[in-house]
C-alpha cells in the first residue's frame, strides 16, 4: 500500500533519471533534486534499482545511481533471427 501511494514520486524519480541519462547522484542528492524527504526517496531508489531502471555505479561507502538504458533489439524478423 505504501509503495502504491508513492507511485507519483516513483514515476517522477524515473523521469528525473531518464531525462538526465548521464547523471550520477547519491540518494541525498536525488532527494534534494526532487525536494522530497530522503526516507521517501530511499525505497524508491531501491525499487528502481531492482527494476533495472537505474544502476549503482558508486561503491558500498558511497552508492551513486545512474539511469540504465533499456535493452534495444533492432531488425527482429518474425520469420528469421535477429539480424
Amino acid at each position: 500500500m505504501a509503495q502504491k501511494e508513492l507511485l507519483p514520486l516513483q514515476m517522477e524519480c524515473t523521469m528525473l533519471f531518464q531525462s538526465n541519462p548521464y547523471m550520477t547522484k547519491t540518494i541525498e542528492e536525488v532527494a534534494n533534486m526532487l525536494a522530497k524527504p530522503i526516507e521517501d526517496v530511499k525505497p524508491i531508489i531501491t525499487l528502481l534499482q531492482k527494476q533495472g531502471i537505474i544502476e549503482d555505479v558508486g561503491d558500498p561507502v558511497k552508492p551513486l545511481y545512474r539511469y540504465k538504458e533499456p535493452a534495444v533489439m533492432t531488425k527482429l524478423s518474425t520469420t528469421g533471427d535477429v539480424k
Binding site: 509503495q3 501511494e5 507511485l7 507519483p8 524515473t14 523521469m15 533499456p70 534495444v72 524478423s77
Partner: protein, 707 residues
C-alpha cells in the same frame, strides 16, 4: 418497565425477610429503584449510607460473589456485584449489620458521628447481627437475590439491545476513525468482549493479524496462519461464523495461547469479504466470560457486518486515493510526452513507466519498422530468455507486419498467458487506423482485478504513447526533409547545371520507384539520395544522423565507379535505382551498369523499358497538352473570364464544368462544402440558370457564340 417493578418487589421481599435495607445501583452509584426494607440503623444513617455507596461503587470490585464490607467501623453491608452480559455492572447493597457482641463498640462509634443522639441500645438491638451460624445463610440469600436481580436486568438489557445496536451503528458510521479506533469504540460500548481483531490475506495463502485492539493483546499483531489452521483458519475454510465457549480448554486456540499473556475464555470469528473479493477474518474474545450468549452472538453478527462495510469503505477510499495518484502520475507523463520531441525518449518513457506501475519485472515495446519490415524491440527486466520468442509470436498475432488497419475500438488491452508462466498485458499502440506497435508488460502473481486495473492505465498510456510517437516521428521526418531540401537547394547556388541534372534524375527515380511498387518510405529515401548524391557519403552521414540516405548514396557511387568491382546483387535496390537514374541522366546510357550486373537483373530491364515508355508518353503528352491548352484558351477559360463572376466563382465554375461535385470542389480549393454551395448558388443567380446542367450548357453556348 416491568423488570424494574419486579426488581423493587424482590428487594422489598428480601429486605423484609432479613430485616435489612437493600438498594441496587448502577456503576455510577445511581439507584435503579427506590430502596427496599426498613432497617432501623440504615434508616437513620441512610443519607450517609448512600453517600458511602456512591464513593465505594467506584472501587474496582473484582469479585463476583457477595462479601461483607464494613462501611463504617463495625457496621457492615453485604456488597454483591452483578455483571450483566454486554459489559454493564450493577451493585447490590444490603445492610446494615453489626457483628455479634460488638454493640458497645458500635454505640461508641455512632456517638462520635455527627448525628442526632438516639436510643442506640434499642436500635442496635434491632439491627441484624452477623454470627458464625447465620453468616453463610445471609451470604447465600444475597447470592440468590443477586441471581434474581441479574435475570431482571438481563431482561432489561435485552430490551436495550436495539438501543445498543443503534449506538454501535452510529459510532461506526458517524466517526471517521480507522478500523482500530472503531474496534476501540466497540469495546467501550459493548464490554462483553475484551478484544477485537482482523486478519487478512497476505502473500500466497497465508493470513496475518493486521489489526488487534484490546488490553494486553498487542503481541497478537502479526500472527500468521493458513486456511484450516486453528480456530481462525477453520473459519476461512468453512466460510461460517464460529463461536467458541470455554476457549481456554480448546486445542484450536493454540495460536492465542502462544501469543497472548492471558488466555481468552471465549472466542468468536466471522468471515468477511473484502472489496477485492478476498476473505478476511473478524475475530474477538473475552478473558472473563467463558460463554457467548445468543444476544452476544447476534451483536457479533452485526459488528462483523459493520466491520465488513468499514473494511470495504477503507479499501474504496484507498483505491480512490490510488486512482488519484495514478491520474496525477498519468497527467505528468502525458505532459512530458507531449513536450518530448524525441521518439527514443517516448519509447523509454513507455517501457519504464509501465514497469514502474505493474512491477511485474519485465516490459517491452515492439515497434514495426516500416522501412525494413522488421521489429524493433526496447525491453526492460528479466524475460527469462523468452523475449525473442514472445515478440515474434505477439507480432504475428497482431499482424504487425501486415500494416493491418485497426479500428480505434480494437485498441483494447489483452492479457496473454504465456507457456512459461506469466500473464502479459498487451496494449496496441494505434494512431488513427494504423497499428504502430505493442506495449507488452509482464505481471506475476497478480489477481485478475489488479491486472484489469493495470490494463486500463496501460491502455491510456498506450493511446497517448501512440499519438506522441507518431507526432514525434513526423517531427523528426520533417526535420530530415528540411535538411535534405536545404542541402539540395544549396547545390543550385554553386552548380546550377548539376542541380538541373539531379532534379531530372530525382523525378525519374521517383517515377520508376513508384512504378516498381516500392514502399513509400523507400521511394522517399531513393528520391532524397538522388537529390543529395552530389555530396560525399561521409558528409551526409555526419550531417544526416540516423538516416539511410548516406548508405544509399555510398552504394550508388560505388556501383557507378569503374574502379570498384562490387557485385550488383550485393547492393540494395534503392542504391541500384539511384545509380541507374544518375547514370542515365549523366550519360544517357546505362551500359556500364548493365555490364556490372552481368545482364542478370530484371531491374535493369524494367528501367530500360521505363525509359522507352516514358519517352513515348512524354511525346504524347506534349502533343495532347498543346491541343488541349489551345482549345481551352480559346473556349471555356476565356468564356468564364468574360462572365461577371468573382475570381473564386470563376474557379468554382471551371471545376463545375469539369464535372466535379461540390465535395470534390471543396477538396480541390481547400474550402468547406458549405462555401462551395454558396459560390455555386451565386453563379446560378448571375448566370440566371436553375442548375448545373443549365450553367454548363450556358457556358458552352456562349463559347459557341463567341467563336
Amino acid at each position: 418497565m416491568k423488570h424494574l417493578e419486579l426488581l423493587k418487589e424482590l428487594q422489598s421481599i428480601y429486605a423484609e425477610r432479613y430485616g435489612l435495607t437493600i438498594i441496587t445501583t448502577d456503576s455510577s452509584g445511581q439507584l435503579l429503584v427506590e430502596k427496599g426494607g426498613k432497617n432501623e440503623l440504615c434508616k437513620i444513617l441512610y443519607e450517609s449510607f448512600v453517600k458511602q455507596v456512591k464513593e465505594n461503587v467506584k472501587r474496582n470490585w473484582q469479585f463476583r460473589t457477595p462479601v461483607f464490607y464494613d462501611i463504617w467501623p463495625g457496621i457492615y453491608t453485604i456488597v454483591t456485584p452483578i455483571h450483566i452480559e454486554g459489559g454493564h455492572t450493577y451493585m447490590l447493597w444490603a445492610g446494615l449489620f453489626i457483628e455479634e457482641d460488638t454493640a458497645e463498640f458500635v454505640k461508641k462509634q455512632l456517638s462520635q458521628m455527627d448525628i442526632t443522639q438516639r436510643d442506640w441500645d434499642l436500635i442496635l438491638a434491632n439491627t441484624p447481627e452477623i454470627t458464625q451460624s447465620n453468616r453463610e445463610e445471609i451470604l447465600h440469600a444475597n447470592r440468590k437475590l443477586a441471581a434474581l436481580i441479574e435475570l431482571c436486568l438481563k431482561e432489561s438489557e435485552g430490551q436495550n439491545l436495539f438501543q445498543l445496536q443503534n449506538q454501535l451503528f452510529q459510532q461506526a458510521f458517524t466517526t471517521k476513525n480507522d478500523m482500530e479506533a472503531l474496534f476501540h469504540d466497540f469495546i467501550s460500548i459493548y464490554q462483553t468482549f475484551d478484544f477485537f481483531g482482523l486478519a487478512s490475506k497476505q502473500q500466497g495463502d497465508t493470513y496475518e493479524v493486521t489489526h488487534i485492539v484490546g488490553e494486553n493483546t498487542a503481541t497478537f499483531q502479526g500472527v500468521q496462519f493458513v486456511p484450516g489452521e486453528g480456530f481462525l483458519g477453520r473459519v476461512i475454510i468453512t466460510d461460517e461464523r464460529g463461536f467458541l465457549d470455554n476457549a481456554n480448554q480448546d486445542p484450536r486456540t493454540l495460536m492465542f495461547r502462544q501469543s497472548l499473556e492471558s488466555q481468552p475464555k471465549s472466542l468468536f470469528a466471522c468471515p468477511i469479504k473484502q472489496q477485492n473479493g478476498e476473505k478476511a477474518v473478524f475475530f474477538g474474545g473475552s478473558f472473563t466470560n467463558s460463554r457467548i450468549s445468543k444476544t452476544s452472538q447476534e451483536l457479533v453478527k452485526m459488528i462483523a457486518a459493520i466491520a465488513e462495510v468499514r473494511l470495504q469503505m477503507d479499501m474504496l477510499q484507498s483505491e480512490q486515493y490510488q486512482q488519484l495518484n495514478r491520474l496525477t502520475a498519468l497527467i505528468e507523463i502525458c505532459k512530458l510526452m507531449a513536450i518530448t520531441p524525441d521518439v527514443k525518449r517516448i519509447i523509454y518513457i513507455l517501457v519504464d513507466i509501465s514497469l514502474n506501475l505493474v512491477e511485474g519485472g519485465f516490459s517491452c515495446l515492439v515497434l514495426h519498422d516500416k522501412e525494413t519490415d522488421n521489429m524493433n524491440v526496447v525491453s526492460r527486466g528479466n524475460w527469462k530468455g523468452h523475449m525473442e520468442e514472445y515478440v515474434k509470436d505477439a507480432a504475428k498475432r497482431y499482424q504487425l507486419e501486415n500494416r493491418k488497419q485497426y479500428q480505434p475500438e480494437a485498441a483494447t488491452p489483452h492479457v496473454h498467458e504465456v507457456s512459461w508462466g506469466a500473464s502479459i498485458i498487451e496494449c496496441p499502440l494505434i494512431y488513427r487506423d494504423q497499428l504502430l506497435g505493442i506495449l507488452c508488460v509482464g505481471t506475476t502473481n497478480q489477481s485478475n482485478q489488479v491486472i484489469e486495473k493495470h490494463a486500463n492505465f496501460l491502455q491510456t498510456l498506450a493511446i497517448i504513447g501512440g499519438v506522441s510517437l507518431q507526432l514525434a516521428s513526423r517531427g523528426e521526418e520533417n526535420y530530415l526533409d528540411q535538411q535534405v531540401n536545404t542541402l539540395f537547394r544549396a547545390i543550385q547556388q554553386f552548380d546550377n547545371e548539376t542541380f538541373t541534372q539531379l532534379e531530372k534524375a530525382t523525378n525519374m527515380a521517383g517515377e520508376f520507384a513508384t512504378k516498381q511498387g516500392l514502399a513509400v518510405p523507400m521511394i522517399k529515401a531513393i528520391v532524397q539520395a538522388c537529390q543529395l548524391s552530389y555530396y560525399s557519403a561521409s558528409f551526409l552521414e555526419e550531417t544526416l544522423q540516423d538516416s539511410h540516405i548516406s548508405m544509399i548514396v555510398q552504394e550508388a557511387k560505388i556501383l557507378m565507379d569503374q574502379e570498384y568491382s562490387i557485385k550488383w546483387e550485393e547492393t540494395s535496390v534503392p542504391a541500384q535505382i539511384v545509380a541507374l537514374t544518375l547514370s542515365y541522366t549523366r550519360n544517357h546510357s546505362i551500359e556500364d551498369l548493365k555490364q556490372k550486373s552481368g545482364n542478370t537483373t530484371g531491374l535493369i530491364e524494367s528501367f530500360t523499358a521505363f525509359i522507352n515508355e516514358t519517352q513515348i508518353q512524354e511525346d504524347q503528352i506534349s502533343l495532347k497538352e498543346e491541343i488541349n491548352i489551345e482549345k481551352k484558351l480559346h473556349t471555356v477559360s476565356t468564356t468564364i473570364k468574360e462572365l461577371n463572376l468573382s475570381p473564386r466563382e470563376q474557379e468554382v465554375l471551371d471545376l463545375v464544368i469539369q464535372g466535379f461535385n461540390n465535395k470534390q470542389i471543396a477538396e480541390q480549393l481547400y474550402i468547406s462544402g458549405h462555401t462551395v454551395k454558396n459560390h455555386v448558388t451565386k453563379i446560378f443567380q448571375k448566370l440566371n440558370v436553375p442548375d448545373r446542367a443549365h450553367a454548363i450548357s450556358k457556358v458552352y453556348q456562349m463559347r459557341q457564340n463567341s467563336s
